[in-house]
């Protein structure tokens, strides 16, 4: 199952670190939409069974630090407040596959 993570462009260094540490499961995409450069960095993450916990840790750590991240699965934006809720979203998406 693949997940899209959008984070502010100001966190680009963090995105590149996450990519460099996990080049097989993470890809960074630079985009430009019609209304100018959006201030976000896109990362596609391949959420395999082994890599899933790392992604969850990464997103929860960002949340705890008060950093903004948006997640999308098949174009739908999901909201989560806790680790359990995030695990549930990922588990449901994996089951759907």
């Amino acid at each position: 199952m693949k997940l899209l993570i959008e984070i502010p462009r100001s966190d680009i260094k963090e995105a590149m670190d996450f990519y460099e540490a996990n080049p097989i499961n993470v890809e960074v995409i630079v985009t430009k939409k019609f209304e100018g450069a959006l201030d976000i960095i896109n990362m596609i993450v391949d959420v395999t069974t082994a890599f899933g916990p790392y992604v969850i840790d990464y997103l929860i750590k960002r949340k705890e630090e008060g950093k903004k991240s948006t997640i999308k699965i098949k174009g739908i934006e999901y909201e989560y407040d806790t680790r359990e809720e995030l695990e549930e979203i990922i588990k449901s998406a994996q089951e759907e596959e």
């Binding site: 693949k2 430009k32 939409k33 019609f34 209304e35 391949d46 098949k74 174009g75 739908i76």
Partner: protein, 386 residues
């Protein structure tokens, strides 16, 4: 990972036929002699967004065919709708779909229900098939040309063009206020007229609406000028959009698809269409993220539209040697009024009020669903909206 992975995670893909050949041909027409390395990906997604994405040093132009279909629907309403309930109905669809994309499924279903209630009015739309098709085609050419323009700007344009554009904008859109008499009162009066007409407020409320509206324009003309100066001097991305609008319009004009007046008129309406879609998107974004201000965006896009009109008035005079432009400029103004009345105001006033009301309802704003529940709700929404 491939560009397809990016597309399928970032967008809700709809199962609709795709006419890749048509868009390859548009891209080829627009490329002309230039060498621009863009790999076209035509898709059909609920997001209605065209973008350039770079992956592993390859650049892709992602064109969303649903955007073209939406242009067609909005142009059909613009030309043939006899009443503003039709524009209102379409704005319910746009809001419902944007809510669906952010998983506000109960709220989306609420707007889907509104949409189906109003849908019978669509039968009243008068047919202007030739005009609607022509305008939609020109708008699709423009959107693709605009993306190519960003590539041209990134690779071939130097800082001088940005500086010249800033100077021109200052002259035409800031210094002009030294010569005309535009008061805070006249701006407020025009806003109140629109509000009373769209919301169908009784005349007795005019005084109270007028006094409340003064808050909206607090700061008056001075603030307007200072915000315009900020856009011109401090927002390079805004200047790039202006430059790309101009390059893209010239690219479309060069193809002689129709008369220069029709091309400019169609792109003018196209910019209104794009603004409407962006407002629908921002209305839902700002439920959670208050930094997505619609007022600031609306202001910015108004300046962009003013610049577009001024630029192409000059192009028609100088390049196409059109001396008497009064009739054409009147036509652009009546297009603006018609679009505002039939499509923009229902979205900006009536639908915005509904979104504000709904966002206070906790049950409707639920975003966390069990998988099966989400599937059932999505089925109902899809059935109503598409």
């Amino acid at each position: 990972m491939t560009i397809r992975d990016y597309i399928s995670t970032s967008r809700k893909i709809l199962d609709k036929p795709i006419n890749n050949q048509r868009y390859e041909s548009i891209l080829k027409d627009l490329h002309g002699e230039r060498r621009i390395d863009l790999n076209l990906q035509t898709i059909f997604s609920l997001n209605r967004k065209t973008e350039i994405a770079e992956l592993k040093k390859v650049k892709y132009l992602i064109y969303d065919q649903y955007l073209g279909q939406t242009f067609y629907e909005l142009n059909r309403i613009f030309f043939g709708a006899p009443r503003d309930e039709i524009g209102l109905c379409y704005s319910f669809k746009l809001i419902g779909e944007n809510l669906q994309l952010r998983n506000y499924l109960n709220a989306s279903l609420f707007f889907a229900h509104y949409f189906t209630n109003f849908y019978p009015y669509f039968k009243e739309i008068k047919k202007f098939e030739k005009e609607v098709l022509m305008f939609s085609t020109i708008q699709e050419y423009f959107v693709i040309a605009h993306e190519i323009s960003h590539e041209i700007v990134a690779n071939h344009v130097n800082e001088n063009l940005f500086e010249t554009t800033r100077k021109l904008l200052t002259k035409n859109h800031v210094e002009i206020f030294d010569k005309i008499n535009l008061t805070e009162e006249s701006i407020t009066k025009s806003y109140v007229n629109s509000l009373i007409e769209t919301m169908r407020f009784p005349e007795e409320l005019r005084e109270s609406v007028q006094s409340q509206s003064k808050i909206v324009f607090k700061g008056g003309l001075q603030e307007y000028i200072s915000k315009t100066k900020y856009l011109i001097n401090d927002r390079k991305d805004f200047i790039e959009e202006i430059i790309c609008d101009e390059i893209a319009t010239n690219m479309v004009l060069k193809l002689n698809i129709s008369s220069p007046e029709t091309v400019i008129r169609a792109i003018h309406i196209g910019l209104f269409n794009l603004r409407l879609l962006s407002i629908a998107d921002r209305m839902i974004s700002q439920i959670k993220d208050k930094s997505q201000s619609i007022n600031d965006y609306f202001f910015e896009s108004n300046i962009r539209l003013n610049v577009f009109r001024k630029n192409f008035e000059t192009t028609l005079r100088i390049k196409y040697k059109k001396t008497d432009l009064k009739r054409f400029l009147d036509l652009l103004e009546s297009d603006t009024n018609r679009y505002t009345k039939l499509i923009a105001n229902p979205m900006l006033f009536s639908t915005q009020t509904d979104v504000n009301e709904i966002s206070k309802q906790e049950k409707l704003m639920k975003r966390k669903y069990k998988y099966k529940e989400a599937r059932e709700l999505n089925k109902l929404i899809n059935k109503a909206l598409r």
